[in-house]
């Protein structure tokens, strides 16, 4: 992969972006690329915004993606999609977002506006990029939507060279038993 490829993953503490980003990193490794990354740990996990950085290619040095430089922004929540897209998407990048809503406190208290679909689309279009919406699957546990999104990334070919088989190998490294079986089933649905 020439020129490198940066992915910024955003969500809310509790949505399982740790597993999503670990699986992505391992999948990219299985695909044969040099990869590094970094997750939010600690305090911010308590219901706050959480993020993961993934950087592919030998010319990526820091584990942190820079603002306005992510080729792909993945968000598991609507407000996070708006924030992450506006902060990190590069010109012409792709914003893949799961259409779930966990209202931030200020929205619940009436002091801030709730993010709408149009806000997400604007975040992508302002960068000349595109937003791709993933609808939540009613039959799937909300905590498993991270795997739904992983399947979508592979199926849509959003990361050059990354295929479903790489994601399967990655998940097999990370999960076991029923959790692995149900995750692999979600991948197979794509």
């Amino acid at each position: 992969m020439s020129g490198g490829f940066d992915i910024y993953v955003a969500g809310v503490g509790g949505q399982g972006i740790g597993l999503l980003s670990e699986a992505l990193i391992r999948a990219v490794d299985y695909a044969g690329y040099v990869v590094k990354g970094c997750d939010t740990h600690g305090l911010a996990q308590r219901g706050g915004s959480v993020s993961s950085h993934i950087r592919i290619g030998a010319e990526a040095h820091s584990p942190l993606v820079s603002e306005g430089r992510a080729d792909l922004v993945v968000a598991l929540e609507r407000h996070e999609a708006v924030s992450a897209g506006r902060a990190y998407l590069r010109e012409g990048g792709t914003l893949l977002w799961l259409d779930s809503t966990w209202q931030p406190l200020a929205v619940r208290l009436g002091g801030a506006r709730s993010a709408e679909v149009a806000d997400v689309e604007e975040a992508a279009s302002l960068r000349g990029g595109r937003a791709a919406r993933v609808a939540p699957v009613a039959a799937v546990d909300p905590r498993s939507h991270n795997v739904v999104v992983l399947a979508e990334i592979c199926a849509l070919g959003l990361v050059p060279g990354l295929r479903l088989e790489h994601a399967r190998s990655a998940l097999a490294d990370l999960l076991g038993g029923a959790a692995l079986a149900s995750s692999l089933a979600l991948l197979a649905d794509r």
Binding site: V12, G14, I25, R26, D29, V34, V35, K36, G37, C38, D39, T40, H41, G42, L43, A44, R46, G47, G48, S49, E59, A60, H61, S62, P63, L64, S66, E67, G68, R69, H79, E80, V82, S83, R86, A87, Y88, R90, E91, T101, W102, Q103, P104, L105, A106, V107, R108, L109, G110, G111, A112, A115, D119, A123, L126, R127, D141, P142, R143, A178
Partner: protein, 621 residues
């Protein structure tokens, strides 16, 4: 992790350090949990206890952890202590003595500094401690370097029978990459206690301090030219540039990113050992460049020394240090380093760097989890106090009570400060009640002296112990009050018994979910004279629910509440005052419950004046 052959794996820096411990022959490891380092303990826990070649404990605080590691090393066992940045302040009283000692086993102090204050109350630069105490300090940039520099630090510590610092930072601890590990040859363990009081003076008192201080300074001077220590530094570039950069730690990687966009590249002197400053290498680098930027995250620690070296050597090199306060603040992420380089050398970059678009979506600060006993407690305690009363926070999950909508705990210094700070706030103060908070882990960590003082010196205030039975914020580690240590069952230290032992006579205990009783207890306690304690107890529901879910397996059936729309009067008590994130506000102010978040604890039901929050019997997942 225990593989004898060399191998590679994708790991974070914290995990890489544990493989380095194994390869280095470490025998004793201690810690107190604090971000960004608790994942070191997670990696240790992943090694089955039966095949773990070293002993680990979570000590009661960082000072104790340091002392246990020191004692173990005195007996000849290579020892490690690790904790977060501000943990070193707690450990400092003993820590600063270490360089005076001859430590036969050697000792590595692993620090998790937190530039950017990602999960700390400041972003202190612990390189200052290395200077103050004459201790060598290595500073890796990546997970791979965390592994290799731990081994360098352990080697130096063993060879020279001393303590050495490995200073990690948040995004070194948590940076993830494929790391190539060397072979691991377990050495037979000799448990012989080898402490020999005659092998050196171990009791520095008055004039006996001076030979020890002299030895520490001589040892430090020798390390400045120790070939193995110097091997952690490297020069990049062919010396063709008239510009150079001296850098260390994660800022080096940000520099490399920034230089991907740069015109002619400066040469780079990348330091692994930042203390003692490798004067020879630095002088050579200065002498071969016209301009040198000292690129260091946080404080100017290297800069004054480098400038002094140049002055003494009569060099005319232009040395560019910190140019403004902003260069002392925040993490040196790639964009910040690029801006700093552009400020030093405006011709370095042709085009402006990409930046974020202005934020429009509401930010999402961390908050108490659904079902958290602290929420129920703060909601009730706020009702028992007047808006003018003074509340003092301590460190832990309950610090989040200072945020809206609770505003409980409006001043914070450090672990365990709350009782004593509140004692001071209560002096000369007959009009505003003073209430302070502390968690159970923090109580045992550093809270006891303030309580003893409040009893001893007859301070007038109310302490609320927010007892949730774990060290929740850092990942649910056990503590002396839980009846478990890292290594199994242990005697449970009762909070109440500890308080009574310290002489506290006025103690109330309430389940934090019982809001009416808690309000009554707070009203009573705050109207009585003297030092009063209210224990507001409820288990950490994040931990409790996870464990219940794990035990139940596929049979798990989550509980939920729902809002009965017919009886809901939309007064927003649940959203605006109780503030559980499960409540969402829809079109026209209709309240709904987010099923992904609600755990069905029901602590909210008593807050609704119209009784509209009801158990959701249809809850399935």
């Amino acid at each position: 992790m225990l593989g004898k052959e060399a191998f590679s794996e994708i790991v974070i820096g914290d995990t890489a350090v544990v493989r380095a411990m194994l390869e280095s022959g470490v025998r004793s490891v201690t810690s107190y949990p604090g971000s960004p380092t608790p994942e070191i303990a997670d990696a240790i826990r992943a090694i089955p206890a039966s095949s773990r070649p070293f002993r680990f404990e979570f000590s009661v605080n960082e000072k104790v952890a340091t002392e246990v590691a020191f004692g173990s090393a005195l007996n000849g066992h290579l020892s490690v202590v690790f904790f977060k940045s501000v943990g070193l302040n707690v450990a400092a009283d003993s820590f600063v003595q270490l360089p005076l000692m001859d430590i036969p086993g050697g000792m590595v102090v692993v620090l998790g500094d937190d530039p950017g204050a990602n999960s700390s109350q400041n972003e202190q630069d612990n390189r200052h401690y290395a200077r103050m105490s004459y201790m060598p300090l290595f500073e890796p940039a990546s997970a791979a370097e965390a592994y290799s520099m731990f081994k360098a630090a352990a080697g130096l510590a063993s060879r020279r029978r001393m303590a050495v610092i490995l200073r990690l930072t948040t995004h070194v601890c948590h940076a993830k990459e494929r790391v190539a590990f060397g072979p691991y040859a377990p050495a037979p363990f000799d448990p012989t206690p080898r402490f020999d009081p005659d092998s050196g003076n171990y009791v520095p008192l008055a004039s006996s301090v001076f030979p020890l201080k002299r030895r520490a300074l001589e040892r430090l001077a020798a390390i400045a030219s120790d070939p193995e220590a110097l091997a952690t530094n490297r020069l990049e570039g062919r010396g063709g540039s008239r510009r150079g950069v001296i850098v260390a730690g994660a800022a080096y990687l940000s520099l490399m990113d920034a230089l991907e966009d740069a015109g002619p590249r400066p040469d780079v002197l990348k330091l692994g050992m930042v203390h003692p400053l490798p004067a020879g290498q630095v002088l050579e680098f200065l002498a071969s460049h016209d301009e040198v930027k000292v690129l260091e995250e946080l404080d100017p620690v290297l800069e004054p020394d480098i400038k002094a070296l140049a002055y003494d050597a009569g060099l005319r090199t232009r040395i560019i240090g910190k140019r403004d306060i902003d260069e002392r603040m925040g993490e040196y992420v790639p964009s910040k380093v690029r801006d700093i380089l552009g400020s030093a050398w405006p011709d370095m970059f042709d085009s402006p760097r990409p930046s974020a678009l202005p934020a429009v979506a509401s930010p999402r600060p961390p908050q108490l989890c659904p079902g958290c006993g602290h929420r129920s407690a703060f909601y009730a305690i706020k009702k028992a106090l007047s808006g003018d009363d003074i509340t003092v926070a301590d460190i832990g999950c309950h610090t989040l009570g200072s945020f809206p909508p609770y505003g409980m705990g409006r001043v914070l210094l450090s672990m365990g400060h709350s009782t004593a700070t509140a004692s001071g706030l209560a002096l000369f103060n007959g009009s505003r009640k003073v209430v302070c908070f502390i968690g159970d882990s923090t109580l045992f960590h550093a809270g006891l002296p303030g309580i003893a003082n409040a009893v001893y010196n007859a301070h007038e205030l109310t302490l609320v112990v927010m007892e949730n039975g774990t060290t929740a914020m850092t990942g649910h580690q056990d503590h002396p009050g839980t009846g478990k240590s890292f290594n199994g069952d242990s005697p449970r230290l009762s909070v109440r018994a500890a308080l009574e032992g310290l002489g506290v006579a006025n103690i109330r205990e309430v389940d934090a979910y019982q809001q009416a009783k808690l309000i009554e207890a707070m009203r009573a306690a705050t109207s009585e004279p003297g030092f009063k304690v209210v224990i507001a107890r409820h288990p950490c529901m994040l931990k409790f629910t996870r464990e219940a879910r794990r035990r139940a397996g596929p049979a798990w059936r989550a509980k939920r509440v729902r809002v009965d729309q017919a009886s809901c009067t939309r007064n927003l008590e649940c959203v605006g005052r109780f503030g559980c994130p499960s409540f969402q506000v829809g079109e026209g102010g209709a309240i709904s419950v987010n099923a992904d978040l609600c755990i069905g604890d029901g602590s909210c039901r008593q807050t609704c004046p119209s009784g509209a929050i009801v158990e959701d019997l249809g809850g399935e997942r």
